[in-house]
């Protein structure tokens, strides 16, 4: 079983999991064509 400290870490990790970093968080702001991720069909080219 996890000790108290590890349980706390897991709780905090779970909370952070609800709002993960996004790649655009590390990129400069793009005003004209900002990155706007959207689930496109799997048969479209992704790369």
């Amino acid at each position: 079983p996890l000790v108290k400290d590890h349980l706390y870490q897991l709780t905090m990790l779970d909370a952070a999991y609800q709002h993960l970093p996004h790649p655009s968080d590390s990129e400069r702001l793009r005003h004209y064509l900002p990155r706007c991720p959207f689930p496109t069909p799997s048969y479209y080219y992704q790369l």
């Binding site: 000790v3 870490q9 990790l13 779970d14 909370a15 952070a16 709002h19």
Partner: protein, 519 residues
């Protein structure tokens, strides 16, 4: 505490002023002029009068930027893209202010003033983060701090002469901050933390661009913190989604390192294996699979591969850090050296077991000092190699024994319980990497222990330690494959005659499947 009256309003006004300047086209045309006039304004407001005021100013700015982000993040009717744009509008301006202040602090040649200021500001941001993390708990948001750190890092790594002259100190400053904010300390920041560590600019600076690999040690230490954090959750092997994602992200980063900087993994494999839990087989295999880029590995599946005659087999690999220091206490090391040289005192072996054991932590099944076992195994092996070479011999099944070194391995294999034996054999298997003198010696050692075992349980556990590494998904270290292939192929070892090979239909099928792949 006790901010001077009016400082909050002054700071807010200054920050608003700066953000407007940053985003105005006029300021963009002549950034330096705008910055210097702003610094004059700060002077007039008394902000730069004392060290204390400067610290409070940055603390208040950080808190204001963070508060703004929290307010934006709770807005429900806006897209994530717009929310982020709102947050970054102020954060990026603040980062630019910090970068300019650092760059222009003191004379152009005075690096100390610049780095002192940077360390102060990074410390302030870190302090605000930790307080926020503690106070808000599960409501803590990584975004503002992540943005501050990464954009500041990118700004301070621009290819400008002033910044190049302080680059090493800048890297040290950021690594110190990331060490402090390691996941065990700020678990709510863990995902952003790994994102920072794996950013292409950060990796590029620490591992590729800094001369003489001076960034490697710091990066290794950061990874060790990551493995340490994951360890208790991975030991349980039942991964919840958050830990599974962090684990998968770690594997991605390790794959990048394996592809781009295999020598880094080669150098620090020992330190990593000390903290990766024993059941994290694929992650460990990934680390152990690294080999120097200039090396061409012979195909381990080649029939009649003469490992003894490979030229690299006599080359000693580099290992960091100094694992010999891990053999403690000093009296134990002294007795160990004495035994290796003279096989005395006789009581050394019988006391060895208790030296390797420890009182288990609460709720932990681990009864052994794993770092000590790892250090002992590697040290004894390297001493054995030196001893063989000193006699003008080459390492082979015929020259590794008889020796005091193999005596120790045999004693441990025979007399430890199943857990201890498993850990010792794991420590030996951790040396089965690319062709080098350690891989060759420990491969011979493992096969010798199998052949000479007086007890089928020893052979079973040797098989277990090797098999678990072979059956996981790729990659597999070269030394592991050649040792396992030799064990199942060479009739000397009578591998297929053992009961444990046929103990269950799944085991038999697994063994045959692996053998078919290998042979």
């Amino acid at each position: 505490f006790d901010d001077p009256p009016g400082l909050h309003e002054k700071t807010e006004n200054l920050l608003i002023e700066w953000v407007n300047m940053y985003h105005s086209p006029q300021a963009g045309r002549d950034r330096t002029k705008a910055f210097f006039s702003f610094v004059q304004y700060m002077h007039q407001q008394g902000i730069l009068k004392t060290d204390d005021l400067i610290s409070r100013f940055f603390r208040l700015c950080t808190e204001m930027c963070v508060d703004l982000c929290y307010r934006a993040l709770v807005e429900q009717n806006q897209s994530p893209t717009l929310i982020r744009a709102k947050c970054f509008h102020t954060l990026d301006a603040f980062v630019r202010l910090i970068a300019l202040l650092v760059k222009h602090s003191g004379d152009s040649g005075n690096t100390v003033t610049k780095i002192n200021l940077l360390n102060k500001i990074l410390g302030i941001i870190t302090g605000v983060l930790m307080q926020d993390h503690e106070v808000r708990g599960t409501e803590f948001q990584q975004l503002p701090y992540h943005r501050l750190f990464i954009m500041l890092f990118i700004e301070l790594n621009a290819p400008e002469p002033i910044l190049e002259s302080i680059n090493m100190q800048v890297l040290i400053a950021f690594c110190s901050v990331f060490m402090f904010l390691r996941p065990a300390k700020a678990p709510g920041f863990a995902y952003a933390w790994l994102e920072l560590l794996s950013h292409r600019v950060f990796i590029g600076r620490l591992l590729a661009l800094t001369p003489q690999q001076r960034g490697w040690g710091m990066y290794a230490q950061l990874l060790i913190n990551l493995f340490r954090f994951l360890s208790p959750f991975l030991r349980n092997a039942e991964l919840q989604k958050p830990t599974h994602l962090l684990y998968k992200g770690t594997l991605r980063v390790l794959l990048v390192l394996l592809h781009d900087f295999p020598e880094f993994l080669c150098d620090y494999y020992y330190a990593f294996c000390d903290v990766v839990p024993p059941n994290c087989i694929q992650m460990r295999n990934l680390i152990l699979s690294a080999f120097p880029r200039k090396m061409r590995l012979p195909d381990p599946f080649t029939a009649n591969l003469k490992v003894d005659s490979l030229p690299d087999i006599t080359v000693e690999p580099r290992i960091l850090p100094n694992y010999v220091q891990m053999i403690q206490p000093a009296s134990f090391k002294k007795d160990l050296d004495s035994y290796l040289q003279t096989r005395a005192p006789i009581t050394f072996l019988s006391e060895l077991r208790s030296s390797l054991q420890q009182n288990p932590e609460p709720n932990s099944h681990l009864h052994y000092n794993i770092p000590l076992i790892n250090a002992l195994v590697l040290y004894v092996g390297t001493q054995a190699i030196s001893s063989i070479q000193a006699k003008g011999q080459v390492t082979s099944m015929g020259t590794i024994a008889p020796s005091s070194h193999v005596d120790i391995f045999q004693y441990l294999a025979v007399n430890l319980d199943t857990e201890g034996r498993y850990l010792v054999l794991t420590a030996i298997a951790n040396q089965l990497r690319y062709p080098n003198s350690h891989t060759h010696y420990f491969s011979c050692c493992m096969l010798y222990l199998f052949a000479q075992a007086n007890n089928e349980q020893i052979q079973e556990q040797i098989t277990r330690v090797l098999l678990e590494r072979v059956i996981v998904n790729r990659p597999h270290p070269w030394g592991l494959l050649i040792t396992f292939i030799e064990m199942i192929k060479n009739p000397t070892y009578k591998f297929w005659n053992h009961e444990f090979v046929h103990c269950a239909p799944e085991v038999e099928k697994m063994m045959e499947g692996v053998a078919q792949s290998c042979l």
